[in-house]
């Protein structure tokens, strides 16, 4: 018999060969040293590759911030936890449909230039989280849902199908599993079904409001939890973070800070914040501590101010899709904003961020 080829060995070890071929392979490997070694190698590759792939279940923190960080994260049921402040995509879609009128009103009523480019880069079918939060907090969601004109029959069907599937499986499995992260306030983290049974006052379902409204009654408390969860995480950041709460308050609808950390670069402390400017679109805002006096003297050759005179546009050489703008203010603080957005949009975001930064 010819030597076993590598594909056959793996198929044998994977149990993919029929009984006859598996028997032949086994007999050959038993008397052929070379093939026996190849089998041992294959076993090693199978085990090692499985171990390597396990590491992929650890989604990078700060990039996908909600609920990320656990090595077993992906093995958890794909379910929201109040401690993790995760919000399901279908929840966002349902919430987005609910608040579309209110959110539109907010966007129209604001005359700032920021909203337009942000809306342009986002997906219209998913409303910004912040906008959803704002609207849910500001208006009785049940009433809005019952009258929401944006919910077409098709979208209703999709939302309800997704909601049904998630509610009937995710929620149950969540209830059966321990929270993956420490629960600060157990009473604030009941499964969705409990929430539906005991909604908050503002989200209490109207018995005449129909099935959509009842779905909203389940979603609205989760959004409220998520909103408070953001504040909790911000507070947990400690002294290293700079006025996170006020920054969140000053941000425009649809924009939120998803992570913040402090790093050092070239002997300077840098605050790096990741903002989600619309669903799926993130930018990195870096604030470099003021340079040393001699550095500032050198930099003074080029007028620096926060009105844009020292702004420098850079397109990332390693990724043509990522644009970067840099600027400085009169204190010597350097700023950098980068993201997969047009430079004009980055400038608008920069304008808003620097305004917030001064507040």
């Amino acid at each position: 018999m010819r030597h076993l080829d590598e594909g056959t060995i793996h198929a044998w070890l994977d149990g993919a060969l029929n009984a006859q071929k598996a028997g032949e392979a086994e007999k050959h490997a038993a008397r052929c040293t070379q093939c026996a070694m190849a089998v041992a190698d294959a076993r090693g590759f199978i085990a090692a590759s499985s171990r390597i792939l396990l590491a992929l279940d650890d989604v990078p923190g700060g990039v996908v911030p909600r609920g990320a960080g656990s090595a077993l994260g992906a093995r958890r049921s794909a379910t929201s936890t109040a401690s993790g402040q995760r919000v399901r995509p279908w929840m966002l879609k349902v919430a987005a449909s609910i608040v579309v009128v209110a959110a539109t009103g907010v966007l129209i009523s604001r005359s700032g230039v920021l909203e337009r480019p942000m809306a342009a880069v986002g997906e219209s079918k998913v409303a910004p989280i912040a906008a959803a939060n704002e609207s849910v907090a500001g208006a009785p969601s049940v009433t809005v849902a019952a009258n929401a004109p944006a919910l077409t029959a098709d979208k209703k069907t999709d939302a309800l199908l997704k909601a049904k599937a998630a509610e009937s499986t995710n929620v149950v499995s969540y209830a059966a599993q321990p929270a993956a992260e420490p629960v600060q306030a157990p009473a604030a983290a009941p499964p969705a079904r409990q929430l539906a049974a005991a909604p908050t006052e503002s989200a209490r379902p109207d018995t005449n409001a129909g099935p959509v409204a009842n779905q909203v009654a389940t979603v609205a408390p989760k959004i409220t939890q998520m909103q408070s969860g953001v504040a909790d995480r911000a507070a947990a950041g400690g002294a290293a973070k700079r006025s996170t709460g006020s920054l969140e308050v000053g941000l425009p609808p649809g924009m939120r800070m998803v992570s913040e950390k402090t790093v050092t670069a070239q002997a300077r402390v840098v605050q790096k914040r990741v903002y989600e400017v619309s669903p799926g679109i993130e930018v990195i805002y870096s604030i470099f501590e003021p340079a040393a006096a001699r550095d500032r003297a050198e930099a003074s050759a080029a007028p620096a101010n926060d009105s844009g005179a020292a702004e420098k546009d850079e397109s990332a050489d390693s990724d043509p899709g990522v644009n970067t703008i840099k600027w400085s203010d009169s204190t010597g603080t350097d700023f950098m904003l980068s993201g997969r957005l047009p430079l004009d949009s980055l400038r608008v975001i920069r304008q808003r961020l620097t305004t917030v930064h001064r507040q």
Binding site: E6, G7, T8, I9, H10, A11, D14, A16, A42, F45, I46, A48, S49, I52, L53, A55, L56, D57, D58, V59, P60, G61, G62, V63, V64, R66, G67, A68, G69, G73, R75, S77, A78, P89, W90, D158, L161, K162, A165, A166, S168, T169, N170, G237, A240, E260, K261, T262, V263, T264, A265, Q266, I281, E282, I284, D319, G321, V322, S338, R340
Partner: protein, 174 residues
């Protein structure tokens, strides 16, 4: 089609597969949800698991064609590595070693050819050779060869990455 049973049976494995493939759990869950919604519209399918993985693969492919924004996590990571910095993690519980291993695993997996990567990830979720062949439009006989090549290259690439000095160690030395 029994939606509840389908979701209970396959959601976890499909989401894990997608998370490993995409490196973005939110995106993975979104694709998984959309896959199950598509399944609800089907009267019946002959091989549920292969069908689900095929639809999920197609959704990713279609999405990638029309919209590359979903790769933001890679761009952000790349952006981070472009900065010559020594990072001081503030968040409690951050495990630098684990993060390093995750980054190496991601890099090693991304180095594989698309077909090899998908075959390997699907096999890790327990799909048999027939299902993998159906999902990737391969002959059953070639799945073993595909998997053996994928495993060997993954391990070799990962080991090569392990031998490289870590960035933080390099800074510490200097």
């Amino acid at each position: 089609m029994d939606a509840d049973r389908l979701f209970r049976t396959y959601n976890e494995m499909l989401t894990r597969y997608l998370t490993r493939r995409l490196g973005d759990r939110d995106w993975a869950e979104e694709v998984a949800q959309e896959t199950f919604v598509r399944a609800l519209r089907q009267e019946s399918v002959t091989n549920e698991r292969a069908w689900l993985f095929t639809v999920a693969n197609n959704l990713i492919r279609d999405e990638a064609r029309k919209d590359s924004r979903r790769r933001r996590h890679l761009e952000l990571l790349r952006e981070e590595t472009r900065d010559d910095v020594v990072e001081i993690e503030i968040d409690e519980g951050t495990d630098a070693q684990r993060a390093h291993e995750t980054a190496m695993a991601r890099q090693a997996v991304d180095s594989l050819a698309e077909r090899d990567r998908l075959a390997l990830l699907m096999r890790e979720e327990g799909l048999d050779y027939e299902e993998i062949a159906a999902a990737l439009k391969l002959s059953v006989g070639s799945v073993g060869t595909t998997l053996s090549r994928a495993r060997r290259r993954l391990v070799e690439h990962y080991e090569a990455l392990q031998k490289l000095p870590r960035r933080s160690e390099g800074h510490a030395a200097s």
